[in-house]
Amino acid sequence: MNEVALQVGQTAAPEALLFWILAPLTLIAALGMLLVRKAVHSAILMAFVMIALAIFYIAQDAPFLGIVQIVVYTGAVMMLFLFILMLVGVDSSDSLAETIRGLRPIAITAALGFGGLMVSLLSRATLGRSAVGLEAANSDGNVEAIARLLFSRYVWPFEVVSALLITAALGAMVLAHHHRIQERPTQRQLSIDRFRKDSLATAAGLAAPGVFARHNAVDVPALLPDGSPAPASINASLKARGDVLDSARFELGTVDTSADEEK
């Protein structure tokens, strides 16, 4: 079946089915990567494209590259991307507004032109030509055949690439190394600073959040002795996210105590 299919320059029917299901999905995911606003969603769609490409590699008699694609790209590279996204801030959503006037139509026209040119050139160059297929080259197994090439003909590039990997790792360490400009303040220094401030109101530390005996979660401001909520008792990032509950909800008069009275 496979030999017959290759003789007429066609791939076998199951592969065609796989391609026509997966290729549109891949294109949709790649387009979605452009259109979604949040960088995390882009990363997830990118991971989908990577896995789809790995399946294409395996379908095209390149099982070694397919596995490497999954391990290196979806495993290591996308993990690194998501890690940096979390570090830089997930909620830093991208504005899709164009900053250079007229850039968007020019870019889309140029890319469509390039894509159309490539597709038309490829169709002229390859139509009517039968694919040789990798059955002969992979007769000893794909990994063995690649290893034979890698360690004979490509052994020098292989060594150079290993040097490149080490250089990249060192470069990343140097770039990511963070020099403190000021010394980290000690607990003693922090304490002295607290007492030398203008006001002694927070010298003993800020109030803890929560309306005790009613609701002691961190998203409710503490009540001051006069009954007003203390905004300083709430973590600043909770406030920025808008996750703060109103402490007036937990005042005594508003809570239904009729069940207790029946007892």
Binding site: L65, N138, A168
Partner: protein
Amino acid sequence: MDAANYLYLSALLFSIGAIGVVLRRNAIVVFMCIELMLNAANLSFVTFSRINGDLNGQVVAFFTMVVAACEVVVGLAIIVTIYRSRRSASVDDASLLRR
């Protein structure tokens, strides 16, 4: 189905990645689009390897993957360094030379 269909897919993915590099402003998304372009080129290599019945294309695709991994490591380190000094991952904010 012709094996060249993979080449068309690869050309389209490359074009989509190129649009993304120009249009998106978040440096990390721009970087992911560059990865998409590299992957599209890899798909071409693998397909040509199959069309010609020659494993050299797969070896070149393997080297591309290694170089892309190096590029991601260094590029993301640069993005983190810029983010530390400017508190922004947008490619438009690093415009010190313009002013």
